[in-house]
């Protein structure tokens, strides 16, 4: 920023905001300002109104989850009274145990864990490989192929669902986990995300140095790219995991209640199988819990990852 912008700043904003925020962006978050324009971001201090509005927004975001817990900890008669309960009751553990059995959540959780785990691992691996190629390797048709990758983001999965179902029947994968896993082994968003990251974070000189030392491409990928890309790979893993865990449409079609993933098992709760509202909420809570725990632990990284991947979208 040039010096002539200083009088402007004093004319408009309170004088201390600008230098302070600049100090904040410069030395603090080295890795964090990866895609950030230098000197970017307007950072007025938030006033009380902003805090109140944000507080309301946070309340709207979190209240349904809190209330799920409240409803899951009371019994059915209490939850169907007015005014509705706002504080947790004593039956949480009983209800969780019963919902676990009624909706066969044990099996569903294991299935979801396998599905989301395999999909996330393969997505991260293939996205990093392809992202590296698109970011740092020169080859014919690179731009066209990259456009294709981006174009595939626009194709909704529902359009191919009928033939896909027939394919799975033919392969004998109906009601089996491979039917859910195989179609989502790769992700265009993931490829794009890793390409964006590696374009900026991986210096060309490092790749060239590897070549001069006689390393072949896979070796460069293994010894140079992977260590550098560890952080975004973790982020991509978590985001993919959330998506795969929550994916509903295709698993609902191709799996049945004998072998469901969590979202599929949860429909059983609403479909009149269990009529006890507290139990329904207990099931919903159980199905969400693993991801909520992940959010409490890694929330900051997931937020950062979504923001990083977004800027150039």
């Amino acid at each position: 920023m040039t010096t002539d912008s200083i009088p402007v700043r004093t004319a408009d904003a309170p004088p201390r905001t600008a230098p302070k925020s600049r100090r904040n962006t410069a030395p603090g978050g080295q890795g964090r300002r990866l895609f950030r324009h230098p000197g970017a971001g307007r950072q007025h201090h938030a006033g009380p109104v902003a805090y109140i509005l944000l507080g309301i927004a946070a309340l709207f975001s979190l209240f349904p989850l809190y209330w799920t817990m409240v409803a899951a900890s009371t019994d059915n008669t209490r939850v169907t009274q007015t005014p509705p309960p706002f504080l947790p009751g004593p039956h949480l553990l009983d209800n969780l145990a019963k919902a676990w059995q009624d909706a066969a959540l044990g099996k569903a959780m294991l299935n979801s864990l396998i599905v989301a785990g395999v999909i996330s691992l393969s997505t991260v691996l293939f996205a990093t490989l392809a992202g590296f190629a698109f970011a740092k390797l020169r080859f014919k048709g690179r731009n066209i192929l990259l456009m294709l990758v981006i174009g595939t983001m626009m194709v909704p999965p529902q359009l191919g669902v009928v033939p896909l179902f027939m394919m799975m029947a033919e392969l004998g994968w109906g009601q089996k986990l491979p039917a859910v896993i195989f179609p989502t082994l790769v992700s265009a968003v993931g490829v794009f995300f890793m390409r964006q990251y590696l374009t900026e974070a991986l210096p060309d000189e490092l790749v060239e140095a590897g070549r001069v030392d006689g390393a072949h491409s896979l070796r460069i990928f293994w010894s140079i790219v992977l260590p550098i890309a560890r952080a975004p790979m973790a982020v991509l893993f978590m985001i993919t995991f959330v998506h795969a865990w929550n994916d509903f449409f295709w698993p609902f079609i191709v799996l049945d209640m004998t072998n469901p993933t969590v979202p599929v098992a949860l429909t059983q709760l609403s479909a009149g199988y269990v009529r006890d509202q507290s139990l329904i909420m207990a099931g919903a809570l159980l199905g969400t819990l693993p991801l909520l725990v992940m959010f409490v632990v890694f929330g900051r990284q997931i937020v950062g990852g979504i923001m990083q991947g977004a800027v150039k979208g």
Partner: protein, 331 residues
């Protein structure tokens, strides 16, 4: 990927094998050949997994859908395909449920997308202030995104319950009569849109926030010299500055809206879910596709609905492009 690993030499056994440092002339030639193969081939090997999986499980089914839509195929006998030409299409055109589902998809799409993106914009603007506890607010905003459709729809179905639901109870406190969220068409569509809005607003807000942080500060300073108020700065600097991100989220949300499935299905609680309520009052195209294929066992007709969804998407994009051009010309 075999290209990039060293393959055993198939040269004559009499030749000396190239040492690790490749000093011999043969070794050198072989190494440069391998090297060239590696440099040329490895990129394709690296991007191949993506394209192979995509071609097999996304592109091929997409194309095959159109072929199936010209046939009569029953769920119980998937390998028996009877050619019927465009019968499925004319039948769909004459089907009231199709037009109903199409209109519902559009109205629920608008009801959920427009408020969602407006609120996300406001939320991003607030998050862009210098804040205490900004991480908390960001994570809180994103938490609904981690909730599965199933869980979210179950909770909101209860909150919107007619007799004991919390929302009707709160409305009664301010003197609003009981609303039948399930059976009243617009109320049901509003309730379903609320679930969508709740899950996706924070996610979009973070996308906007990221874009806002990339706007150079001098633009605000320039606007301030010109005497622009904060609101004017928001309209004239912030919104144009993140325009490409806004377009991106509109595209994403539109795709999401045309596919809407889980929320209305679960909101309908059981048998009414697939038909989108007792009077199809909130049946979307996604639900109609499922009903045709997996309840009425007509896969050919389901494929036709998929095609209709595809055409709807294309129509939306064309309209979007036209609107963008017109707006850009006016600006």
């Amino acid at each position: 990927m075999a290209i990039s690993t060293s393959t055993p030499p198939d040269g004559a056994p009499g030749h000396t094998l190239p040492a690790g440092d490749g000093t011999g002339e043969d070794g050198l030639r072989r190494r440069t050949l391998l090297h060239r193969l590696d440099v040329r081939g490895a990129p394709y090997a690296f991007v191949a997994p993506f394209f192979v999986v995509f071609a097999a499980f996304s592109f091929y089914p997409l194309v095959y859908t159109s072929w199936i839509s010209l046939h009569r195929v029953e769920l119980s006998t998937l390998n028996v395909m009877e050619w019927v030409g465009f019968d499925n299409y004319t039948a769909l055109w004459d089907d009231d449920r199709f037009w109903n589902a199409l209109i519902n998809t559009i109205t629920i799409g608008v009801l959920s997308t427009v408020p969602q993106l407006m609120m996300a914009l406001g939320l991003a603007h607030l998050l862009n202030y210098q804040l205490r506890g900004s991480t908390f607010f960001r994570v809180a905003a994103l938490t609904p995104y981690a909730t599965s459709v199933g869980a979210a729809a179950l909770v909101f179905t209860m909150l919107f319950e007619r007799d004991f639901g919390m929302i009707n109870w709160m409305l009664s406190l301010v003197g609003v009569d009981t609303i039948d969220w399930e059976n009243n068409k617009w109320a049901a569509q509003t309730a379903i849109s609320t679930i969508v809005i709740w899950r996706w607003t924070g996610y979009n807000a973070l996308l906007y926030l990221a874009a806002m942080q990339a706007i150079p500060r001098d633009r605000y300073e320039a606007a301030a010299i010109d005497g622009a108020s904060r609101w004017q700065q928001f309209l004239k600097v912030t919104v144009p500055g993140i325009r490409s991100t806004i377009v991106f989220t509109i595209v994403l949300s539109t795709i999401g809206a045309t596919q809407l499935f889980g929320e209305p299905l679960i909101f309908g609680q059981g048998p009414n879910g697939i038909t989108g309520g007792a009077d199809n009052q909130y049946q979307t195209l996604g639900l109609l596709l499922y009903e045709e294929g997996w309840k009425n066992y007509q896969m050919g007709r389901a494929a036709t609905v998929a095609w209709a969804m595809f055409l709807l998407l294309i129509a939306v994009f064309v309209v979007q492009q036209v609107v963008r051009r017109v707006l850009a010309r006016r600006a």
